[in-house]
């Protein structure tokens, strides 16, 4: 130590160290707010304010013709809803519709993705054909399926007629209404599931498949050891999205059945529309909407809890 001190130059009083002025530093501090600003403003104007207003509305009795002139009724709308069998019927229809649509869309979509991930002739054409429904406008989809399901001259009745089954009222018979709506919805949304899962499948390194070949794994073992663990997170996310979108879906259901037959497809969203514009009860409609929001939030919360558990298990 003493040696080092002796050869180091004598200490000179150094000026204190200061930060050099930096525009870059300022910019780094404020730029994040500038980037997220537009999105936040958009969310506030088009999401937060309407939601808050909708919840306010749900505590009033407001006729459609005088949207500004509501009278406060407290929790009356909610009390009426929770006491009415029609609301529970609507809730049940929503759950049934969502569960069926999500199940079929995810299973069929994932299955098609697995098939289309293999190399075969005409694969690109097949992918294009299967993706096509996603590109068709929703209203057009509903109208086309409306014709297909038409009682007197729909294609479906032609086909079942050939098979010896009598004509059915696909959209007017309470036995079939929900099935018809689910079928149409699955046809429309399944391609998205397929595309997303396919993208995830294509990101699996080929070496992993080769490793299972070296280890002598069969198709099912390979699926379980390599494919499924890779695509599972994607399938979970797409299931969440499908669920939220199904809870909110309106056009297909309303245009096909209008909530009928006998309220069998009267999901919460269709119910909101009917309360607001047929019964002209904005307050009641808003209350249904608020409960629907709670349902969507519940699904999301359950999803995030599940994700956290999986992440904890992975670590």
């Amino acid at each position: 130590m003493s040696l080092r001190t002796s050869i180091s130059p004598p200490a000179v009083a150094q000026p204190p160290i200061q930060d050099a002025p930096s525009r870059h530093h300022m910019w780094q501090k404020i730029s994040p707010y500038i980037y997220v600003g537009p999105a936040v403003i958009y969310l506030i104007i088009f999401m937060i304010i309407p939601v808050v207003q909708g919840i306010q509305l749900s505590f009033t009795k407001t006729p459609l013709v005088r949207p500004d002139g509501g009278t406060g009724v407290g929790l009356e709308n909610y009390a009426k809803l929770l006491g009415s069998p029609q609301f529970y019927n609507s809730l049940g229809a929503t759950v049934l519709y969502t569960a069926a649509t999500v199940l079929f869309a995810v299973v069929i979509g994932t299955g098609s993705a697995l098939l289309l991930n293999r190399a075969f002739k005409g694969r690109t054409v097949m992918r294009a054909i299967i993706t096509f429904p996603w590109a068709v406008p929703t209203v057009a989809t509903a109208l086309i399926f409306g014709w297909i399901f038409n009682r007197s001259d729909g294609v479906l009745n032609e086909v079942v007629g050939v098979m010896g089954i009598g004509q059915q009222g696909w959209l007017v018979d309470p036995k079939f209404g929900m099935a018809a709506v689910v079928l149409t919805s699955v046809w429309k949304v399944m391609p998205l599931v397929m595309l997303v899962v396919l993208a995830s499948l294509q990101s699996i390194p080929t070496e992993l498949y080769e490793a299972t070949r070296m280890d002598g794994a069969g198709a099912l073992e390979t699926f379980r050891a390599v494919t499924w663990p890779h695509i599972a997170p994607t399938v979970r996310v797409v299931t969440l999205l499908m669920t939220i979108w199904s809870i909110r879906r309106f056009e297909i259901i309303y245009l096909l059945t209008g909530g009928g037959p006998v309220d069998s497809t009267n999901t919460l969203v269709v119910n909101v529309y009917r309360q607001a514009f047929s019964n002209q009860e904005l307050g009641r409609a808003a209350a249904i909407g608020a409960l629907g929001l709670v349902l969507s939030l519940l699904v999301t919360v359950v999803y995030f809890i599940m994700e956290r558990r999986t992440a904890a298990k992975e670590a």
Binding site: A211, M214, D215, E314
Partner: protein, 403 residues
């Protein structure tokens, strides 16, 4: 235990031929390195041996059985991938046990529910657990057994991949650039590890790499491939001392062999006015020098450099000094008046000299390059073939090894 024979293997991808009529015999217990630049076909060849890729033509023979039609698993070989190819959602222990657990899996175990129970049972099976812990201990993986591959470093992952290969006790190990994704220190460490495993198992190893250091330090036999064609198949020593052609001469060695155009006058090679002595190295035959020109090759360590203008040698100017600590590399630009034509053969126009210790030379110094007598190689100036007869053990592929 298997002796590997590759007979007339060819492989095309569409119109691109990546392997041309490759033949080689590898004795049981050899450590064969397939060495080549990227695109040389070495990995394709390894995948053909493994059964991951089918050859367009030719036979893969283990002992006396043609295995062309067998699946990778049936061939009983293990494959180690450059990217490790570990199953990311399984722990280290499960990854290593995977091939063993598969052996016990039957078709009906796939029924949901039963599969979970079956996996539990195999996972906790005593003999599997014993084998896994044995192999983990061998590769010092014990303390990571319950981690997922994502929580391991590159070197640890490659150890897991080696363990997964080892546990099956295969007849042959195939390794596809297993160390390429690791840093230099880990590479050196795992090189030693792999050589140790080779000694321990006594099995045949076929190892693909583009790294000449790996090839020289690990191999018992090296095959050098260039554009799908075998350039030389020999021991590391022979490849270094008697490269079969100018490609091999330039590919092996760092810096590579210096190549210079030479005239032949009265049967003696003459480079830039300097008459070289005939080669006399042990095991190297007399080259057949024709009357035309030849290409002379001299390794950097067989040259010395001096500032003494009176010495017989090639005059030049020092251009580069690279001090490596133990050695110094000196790049000398030969006097342009000599018209040496090194530029046709070497990438830079410099002659490189390796000198032990430090050098007092500086860039710009005039100097003379003096070759060590009898240490030069001679190549046909048109075909690039080495003019000295090959050693007993080597040829471009066809001659059996270890005779």
């Amino acid at each position: 235990m298997a002796k590997l024979s590759l007979r007339n293997i060819s492989k095309r991808f569409g119109d691109t031929k990546v392997i041309h009529d490759f033949s080689a015999e590898v004795d049981n217990g050899e450590f064969l390195v397939l060495l080549g630049a990227s695109g040389s076909g070495k990995s394709t060849l390894l995948r053909i041996i493994a059964g991951l890729t089918d050859a367009t033509a030719g036979d893969v023979i283990f002992d006396n059985l043609r295995v062309n039609r067998q699946s990778p698993r049936e061939r009983d070989v293990a494959f180690v991938f450059q990217s490790y190819a570990l199953y990311p959602h399984l722990t280290v222990r499960e990854n290593i046990a995977f091939p063993l657990a598969l052996d016990k899996f039957k078709g009906w175990h796939h029924i949901p529910g039963i599969s979970t129970i079956a996996r539990r049972v195999f996972g906790s099976s005593k003999d599997i657990a014993k084998q896994v812990s044995g192999v983990s201990a061998m590769l010092e993986l014990d303390q990571y057994a319950d981690r997922k591959p994502g929580g391991l470093s590159g070197g640890q992952r490659q150890r897991v991949a080696l363990a997964r290969a080892l546990i099956r006790n295969p007849s042959m190990f195939l390794l596809d650039e297993p160390l390429s994704n690791l840093d230099a220190k880990l590479r050196a460490e795992l090189r030693g590890e792999i050589v140790r495993l080779h000694r321990l198992t006594g099995k045949t190893f076929v190892y693909v790499t583009h790294d000449q250091v790996e090839a020289m330090t690990m191999a018992t036999q090296i095959v050098i491939l260039h554009n799908g064609v075998v350039q030389q198949h020999a021991t590391p020593q022979e490849i270094y001392t008697r490269p079969a052609n100018t490609y091999v001469a330039r590919f092996i060695g760092s810096p590579p062999m210096n190549l210079m155009a030479a005239a032949v006058v009265d049967g003696q090679p003459v480079v830039g006015g300097l008459t070289l002595a005939a080669p006399d190295g042990p095991g190297v035959g007399q080259p057949r020098l024709g009357d035309g020109g030849v290409t002379v090759g001299v390794r950097p360590e067989h040259l010395s450099v001096t500032v003494d203008g009176g010495r017989q040698g090639l005059p030049g100017t020092v251009r580069r000094i690279e001090d490596l600590g133990a050695d110094t590399l000196i790049g000398v630009q030969p006097d342009p008046a000599l018209d040496l034509k090194t530029w046709e053969l070497n990438r830079d126009e410099l002659i490189w000299i390796r000198q032990a210790g430090q050098s007092r030379l500086m860039a710009g110094d005039a100097c003379t390059v003096v070759p060590e007598p009898g240490k030069a190689s001679y190549f046909d100036s048109t075909t690039g073939e080495n003019l000295a007869p090959a050693g007993r053990n080597s040829d471009a592929g066809a001659v059996p090894l270890g005779a």
